[in-house]
Symmetry: C2
Amino acid sequence: MKKGLLLVISGPSGAGKGTICKSLLEQNSNINLSVSATTREPRPGEVEGVNYYFLEKEKFKSMIVEGEFLEHAEVYGNYYGTPKAKVMEKLNSGEDVLLEIDIQGALKVKEIYPNGVFIFILPPSMEELKSRLEGRGTETKEAMLRRMESAYHEIEYVFKYDYAVLNDKVDLAVKTIESIIEAEKARVHRQENILEEF
Amino acid sequence: MKKGLLLVISGPSGAGKGTICKSLLEQNSNINLSVSATTREPRPGEVEGVNYYFLEKEKFKSMIVEGEFLEHAEVYGNYYGTPKAKVMEKLNSGEDVLLEIDIQGALKVKEIYPNGVFIFILPPSMEELKSRLEGRGTETKEAMLRRMESAYHEIEYVFKYDYAVLNDKVDLAVKTIESIIEAEKARVHRQENILEEF
């Protein structure tokens, strides 16, 4: 049985990875989105196992100790993480799994599962990034400047990734990611059983 | 200026690399087929610089000595080779170049230009390979058996390549190669100037 691909789609805040992943999933029903675990309270409308796995803090901490996360982080007192077992189960049954994740998380996943496909989404330009962050309208000017500066520094992490995809037009970025998936499946190191078929 | 890709398409005799390359070139006018040099006589209809560069044996030998071939071989007293300068010129001007070449040649190219994209074409099965070689109708039974045996051993070289593409349906194989090209262009190590754009 050929293993599925672990697709890790990552990039700076405002690069548009959310929009790209949504469109990629809509057009490729065979790709499974990994569901994160969190200790924060569910918001109205959020469904257990769809938006998140909602866990008690004690449970989450014991899972950290047992090494049951591919990556995890604490943000404003709440924990977030990617449960390893669910992802591995899908991969081992030949299904592809998509992780949409920030850069710190992606680099942790790479340590544990270097065989993943690590894709960095680039904003088309700093100007465009600024206008996207402004478009969200949820930030003070100072917070926005901090986010811009942080995004700029985050872009340097692109060299830790396998692929860099420019998010100029969402459709083109999605098409490039689909090509990356097809190409990765044709990689010799992912087809160890080639010779057995002859 | 971003360098073009050197696509090396190779595989055992009868795998169908010729058909695949023809179709790939027809559908992608931006890919340049590398023209080989040879010391054999032109056949009727063959055009200098299109089918081959036809060279005198002395000239060919001095080019070997000067290291002016990416690879070369002697077959039944004639020399065949890939002139390095022509290929490098195209690559440096950002154009993609296709080499359709046997396995020995591909491995030599890999030593000199490991940054190429090495694609191995697999026949769908040994049965299908047999019927293809038979279809050519140009061989004795003994010669055919030798070719089958040699093809079988050649398939083991697949592990020296980056990609293995099954030639079950030509159209699908060409589509996979097009995806490989698109994916390779998105590879981080081929986009060294990413950061300069920000």
